[in-house]
């Protein structure tokens, strides 16, 4: 019997330090002589900076320096954008605005002081004289001819236009039997709002000309490279360390101005400089998610089979590009067909500048928008043709035998069985019973809504050829002389639990106790290379690299063992702390092989001492996890309040390495997806003031907002990586948003409501019901 570790519900290795309060996030670190930095940020959405008076700030006792944009010119590079799109306009994005601000919260002045209390006192004393400029907040208005320009050096506010076309539109347009369904969808702006805000400590040592940066980031290696470019410090002497990261959800998949300014300040002052983002800063100046307007046209046959889909995406990019800003909406176009083999597709994506914070990757990043569009579309089709939403989906699914499947979008789906997840979730939710209950309740004037969504997402980002900055991942496994095993990954998990799942992979492969494996990540001097954690890639790409490295390591260990046992290396099995022949007749303890490798007294021919192997895994394709969700809601007919009654989901993320972690990822994703559907909305007023600037106005869901999530899985493995895993970090978010909206719209069917935009706040629902009553 082989020791079974992979696939088991195993408690996390990460937790002991976290539950004792002994783990260290950036703000928990203190360096000798450390200074504290704070920022003065624009209160205008668009203005010239006419003058800055910092004399009073400088005179505050304990203030060490005051930095302005001009001080950085030629000495600190701009905030980088890695997205490469044809014809993309890339505006200059200095770390401190030198002469013009373009969104509320844009940093203008940095104060460096002895401690944070003094820094904030001084920040209050900086006087900035602004010359207000015209503001554009609405992306559609920004496209108008006479719109104010966010960047006057460009002729218009269009950052890029991308087109995606597949199939034969002539056929669709000439087929008069097709029904055309149109709908506009708004995918509102969201705040990622990880519980830990951003933070950075930069420590420059002039003797060595070396820069060490501790940052709450998802991409330590990319950050290191970018900081080297920005600051001019030799990359070999740049080091980024990611301590504990308190959540990110895409918002820390970035290189931010503050990381640059802190590095610059430390270099200038020769002391460590710390900056910790406040929550208001986090709401204003950490990237936002979503913010798309989608105009959809669906051409459908009378039996509910969709023949063509056309969509115009207006993506509000905000004022500047952050690392991946323009790339995110292009993912929406890629995934717009969802899990339906629709033969004809046409998508135009227009990226637009506005006087707002940049949008960028937020959990799901482009795919929740796509899923929302297509899943709402399926319900609109069902509504139009008076079919059950489940039936419409069934009629448009490809068969499991069709995979691998190239869609009209040109995307190659790996494996799937959409029928299976749908069937399972319908059963779990008692779907047909629910429909009957709904009928009964409607007669009593009660509004039960049942919402369905069947989704597919594009994960395991991704093949390097299709990624802005490489999509491979690095993994290294070393058996230490003590026979303990250290795993190094270039990914940078921050709550997902890969210290556990990677240890499971390695322990299972080497046949050693799980406790003997330690996973390292997030230090560019310890882990040689890396891309990072995002796009549900950590296990599917990073795990695959670890798996590959272990295979190499096993080969090497087997040669040492075989040499001693005098058998063929290929015959050996790793299990139970030893290496043994298939028939079990000969074996050698794991530790003895390690000893042989390190003491190196007698080496097998051509084998070097030591037990360290590494691999850079390049994924041949993305993976395509999928699932089916059912939400059950009750709408209060008097007030429009929504009560979420039940939630069922069946997710297929490929092979499951640790069900506990998968459940956790799904739950968290659901909370965020449901949050978008019902509550979350990051709102700028028409003057570009962000009016949801605190957690008192921006709703992060609370424990009592949710029912018990009934989650389960199917397992359809992918051939894209040797582990067969697809990724699960974003599944819940992607599947749940349309399920909830479909449920609420379904509840409002008696009122003739066809569509409502998110978030489904009670007032919106009340107005829809009221309007229906007025028309009746």
């Amino acid at each position: 019997m082989r020791t079974k570790i992979l696939g088991e519900r195993i408690k996390r290795k990460e937790d002991p330090r976290l539950i004792r309060g002994g783990a260290h996030y950036v703000d928990d670190l203190k360096l000798d002589g450390m200074l504290y930095m704070t920022f003065v940020r624009s209160v205008y959405a668009h203005a010239k900076i006419k003058s800055i008076n910092d004399a009073a700030a400088r005179s505050v006792h304990g203030v060490v320096d005051v930095l302005r944009g001009r001080d950085l010119e030629g000495k600190l590079g701009n905030v980088p954008c890695a997205a490469g799109l044809e014809g993309l306009k890339i505006p200059d994005h200095p770390c401190l605005a030198p002469d013009e601000v373009r969104y509320v919260g844009e940093p203008i002045v940095a104060i460096v002081a002895r401690d944070r209390y003094i820094a904030e006192d001084a920040a209050d004393k900086v006087e900035i004289e602004y010359g207000p400029l015209p503001v554009v907040v609405n992306p559609e208005k920004a496209l108008e001819k006479d719109s104010p320009l966010v960047h006057s050096k460009f002729a218009d506010n269009v950052a890029f236009v991308a087109k995606l076309e597949g199939g034969d539109w002539k056929l669709v347009e000439n087929d008069k039997s097709l029904k055309l369904i149109k709908q506009r969808f708004i995918n509102q702006r969201l705040a990622p709002a990880s519980m830990e805000t951003r933070g950075v400590i930069a420590s420059y040592s002039s003797g060595e000309d070396a820069l060490t940066v501790w940052s709450s980031t998802q991409i330590p290696h990319l950050l290191k490279t970018q900081l080297a470019v920005m600051t001019g410090v030799d990359e070999a002497r740049c080091r980024v360390i990611t301590p504990e990261v308190g959540g990110a959800f895409g918002s820390k998949l970035n290189v931010y101005a503050e990381e640059g300014v802190a590095s610059f300040a430390s270099k200038k002052l020769g002391k460590p400089v710390k900056w910790i983002e406040g929550r208001r800063e986090n709401m204003q100046a950490t990237i936002h998610g979503r913010d798309q307007i989608n105009d959809l046209e669906v051409y459908v046959k009378s039996d509910g089979v969709v023949a063509g889909l056309r969509c115009r995406i207006i993506a509000d990019l905000g004022a500047y590009h952050q690392l991946l800003t323009p790339a995110i909406p292009t993912l929406t176009a890629l995934m717009i067909l969802g899990c339906y083999n629709i033969p004809n597709v046409w998508v135009e994506t227009i990226g637009v500048f506005t006087n707002k914070m940049a949008t960028d990757a937020y959990r799901g990043a482009g795919r929740p928008e796509a899923t929302y569009i297509i899943e709402r579309a399926m319900d609109l089709v069902a509504n139009e043709l008076n079919l059950d939403p489940a039936e419409v989906r069934q009629r448009n699914f490809p068969s499991p035998k069709d995979f691998p499947l190239t869609l009209a979008t040109g995307v190659d789906y790996d494996t799937a069985n959409y029928q299976k997840t749908l069937k399972k979730v319908l059963k779990a939710s008692g779907y047909s019973r629910l429909r009957k209950e709904q009928e009964r309740l409607r007669k009593k004037g009660k509004y039960l809504g049942i919402g369905l969504s069947t989704y597919v997402e594009i994960c395991a980002m991704g093949p390097s050829s299709r990624m802005p900055a490489g999509g491979w991942e690095f993994g290294m496994v070393r058996v230490e002389p003590t026979a303990k095993v250290t795993v190094y990954t270039g990914t940078s998990p921050h709550g997902q639990g890969e210290e556990t799942s990677f240890a499971q992979i390695v322990a299972e492969e080497l046949g050693i106790p799980f406790d003997n494996v330690t996973v390292y990540h997030g230090d560019t001097s310890v882990v040689q290379h890396g891309i990072g954690t995002f796009g549900s890639r950590t296990t599917a790409v990073g795990g695959a690299a670890i798996f590959g490295a272990v295979q190499k390591l096993k080969k090497k260990m087997a040669r040492f063992a075989a040499f001693k046992l005098k058998v063929k290396p290929g015959e050996l099995i790793f299990d139970g702390g030893k290496l043994q022949t298939a028939d079990g007749s000969k074996s050698i303890p794991f530790g003895e092989v390690v000893e042989a490798a390190y003491y190196a007294r007698q080496l097998p021919p051509g084998v070097e001492p030591g037990l360290t192997e590494q691999m850079v895994f390049e994924p041949p394709n993305y993976t395509f996890p999928f699932g089916a969700h059912v939400a059950v809601v009750e709408v209060d007919g008097e007030t429009g309040e929504v009560q979420l009654r039940n939630y069922y989901c069946v997710d297929d993320c490929g092979r499951i390495l640790n069900p506990l972690l998968v459940d956790g990822q799904v739950h968290g994703g659901l909370a965020q997806g449901i949050g978008q559907a019902l509550w979350e909305d990051h709102v700028y007023d028409e003057n570009g003031q962000l009016i949801t600037g605190t957690l008192m106005d921006y709703t992060l869901p609370k424990a009592h907002h949710f029912p018990w999530f009934e989650t389960s899985n199917t397992e359809t493995r992918t051939p894209v990586n040797p582990l067969g895993v697809k990724g699960v970090g974003e599944a819940g978010t992607i599947g749940s948003t349309p399920a909830i909206v479909n449920a609420v719209v379904d509840a409002l069917k008696p009122f003739g409501v066809r569509h409502l935009d998110m978030p489904l706040k009670p007032e919106k629902i009340w107005r829809a019901m009221k309007q229906a009553a007025a028309q009746a």
């Binding site: 408690k11 996390r12 990460e14 937790d15 002991p16 976290l18 539950i19 004792r20 309060g21 002994g22 783990a23 260290h24 996030y25 703000d27 928990d28 203190k30 209390y117 709002a193 990880s194 519980m195 830990e196 805000t197 504990e244 990261v245 308190g246 959540g247 990110a248 959800f249 406040g278 929550r279 208001r280 921050h494 709550g495 997902q496 639990g497 506990l660 972690l661 459940d663 956790g664 799904v666 739950h667 968290g668 994703g669 659901l670 909370a671 965020q672 605190t694 957690l695 008192m696 992060l700 609370k702 424990a703 009592h704 949710f706 018990w708 999530f709 819940g732």
Partner: protein, 154 residues
């Protein structure tokens, strides 16, 4: 101002400015960084500690107000290296992901169980209304508290 505070069983004395927030006192003066800061408006609960046995948001209190008080932070929960049942529960039930809200969450749960040793799931959710978690969707946290309730009830 001079204050005297008993933190996790040990008295200490410090001279603090009146405006020093209790959370900064704990983190930066007493060096107990397990208590976190997640918002500026007393909403998120990441900074929750027990003062005189009651769960409070230490970002909404000045250190000088704690003069003479007994404070328990996350660092003081495990006794003799033994995890508190709540800590055990959070571990067993995967009640945390990034871990940032966890100390505050555990201390709120601590008070919940002190007042109601056998809460229903709904009571647990209501009892944690002052603590935000962006990672877990709360379900495993509810299970963690149930675990601790059971473990303590033995």
């Amino acid at each position: 101002m001079k204050i005297r505070v008993k933190i996790n069983g040990a008295w200490r004395e410090d001279d603090v400015a009146p405006r020093l927030l209790l959370v900064h006192y704990l983190r930066e003066v007493a060096g107990l960084t397990g208590t976190h800061i997640g918002c500026e408006t007393s909403i998120c609960g990441a900074c929750t500690v027990l003062v005189g046995g009651q769960a409070v948001k230490s970002c909404t209190m000045f250190a000088v107000q704690a003069d003479g008080a007994e404070i328990t932070t996350i660092e003081g929960l495990a006794k003799d290296g033994q995890l508190h049942p709540l800590q055990q529960g959070f571990w067993e039930e995967h009640g945390l992901q990034c871990g940032f809200c966890t100390p505050g969450m555990i201390l709120s749960a601590h008070q919940l169980l002190a007042r109601n040793p056998h809460p229903t799931r709904e009571e647990i959710r209501k009892g944690l209304e002052g603590n935000l978690c962006r990672c877990t969707g709360y379900q495993h946290i509810v299970k963690a508290v149930e675990y601790a309730a059971k473990a303590s009830g033995k």
